[in-house]
Symmetry: C2
């Protein structure tokens, strides 16, 4: 049998499972069930069991899942057991918020460098990084072997930045600019656009 590839949509849910397990741990819980996880996430228990079954058997019949063990397994599967270095491009308001966000480290990511093209900003300190000239982006990414980038620049330069990132060897981009980026196949992109999310809800609002 060929090694069946896992559907993207399954991978997409694993971080939610992991996040929920972190919560349960914070609440002092040690055991959970697919039913409980599903209730918390608004997902059927069957789907959770099916998703997990792509990767192995992590539970015990009659008991459920050991939370710490399943967390560990999910971190392994998602490769967030060690910290990934991430470059952040754009030191505007959003870049500020991201650079200072305390929630990355505990979940697998470290902002390793921050770039901007504004001479006023270059050299200033943001989070625990000195803002660098975006012209040095390729050099830094290459020399440190960084694979992940966050784009927080204005929409009109986002595609150019994406091109530069891919040239430098970046393999995954989290894009906050409100534009669908075009990248070569094999490069992963995730988009965050608050307006898109808001517009996905207004359709359902009666007034």
């Amino acid at each position: 049998m060929a090694p069946k590839s896992i559907p993207d949509i399954v991978i997409g849910r694993l971080p939610l499972y992991l996040r929920a397990l972190n919560f349960l741990t914070a609440e002092g819980r040690e055991i959970t069930s697919s039913q409980e996880l599903g209730d918390r996430l608004g997902i059927s228990s069957a789907q959770i069991r099916k998703d997990l079954s792509h990767f192995g058997e992590f539970g015990k019949q009659g008991t459920g899942y050991d939370i710490n063990y399943l967390r560990q397994q999910l971190r392994d599967i998602l490769r967030v057991e060690h910290l990934w270095d991430v470059v952040l491009i754009g030191a505007g308001d959003l870049g500020h918020a991201l650079a200072r966000y305390a929630g990355f480290t505990g979940r697998g990511f470290n902002i390793a460098a921050v770039f901007d093209n504004d001479p006023e900003k270059i050299g200033q300190t943001l989070g625990n990084q000195e803002i660098q000239d975006v012209a040095k982006l390729g050099e830094t990414v290459r020399s440190q072997g960084i694979k992940i980038a966050i784009i927080a620049v204005p929409v009109n330069s986002a595609q150019d930045v994406a091109r530069a990132l891919v040239d430098a060897g970046i393999k995954a981009i989290l894009n906050y600019a409100p534009i669908t980026l075009t990248v070569p196949s094999g490069i992963k992109v995730q988009h965050i656009d608050p307006v898109v999310h808001l517009q996905r809800m207004t359709y359902y609002l009666s007034q």
Copy 2:
């Protein structure tokens, strides 16, 4: 025939179509095709035509779509033809970035009020709003008939804020706190958690 309900997944793509059309307009274009839109978005042309066909016939055989007309139609469908007032809860780094973000207005949304629970922040100006005491949240939401909220508070108070919002009559929540919110059925929620998005990509990274 019963009025067939439109799949959520179709609604979810419409804002992307609208955003791409805005781009084409900015480029001075007047006509496009499902093929061109699909190429830009990484979606098949058949899917775009199928999605649009749920709502009517917006194109012309042999020619394609009038960009302005289709934009207008999509704005109508998504109900973003007029501005929606939105309340923002949380005036931290992220709240700052959101309150000062210039990209809302042109796409259907207006930050109408900002709340925080920090006495130091209450009364200060953010964007073009004075930060209000979160205790007055319900009053403001009710008196202004606001239906949409953005949560940008720390994770440990997000669920409480969500409850207060729902009590006040909010029908749609964009949640930036890294937790799956539990809300009554009929309330729409969209989640944005950068770490979840990053973890959806690391699975595919070889190293």
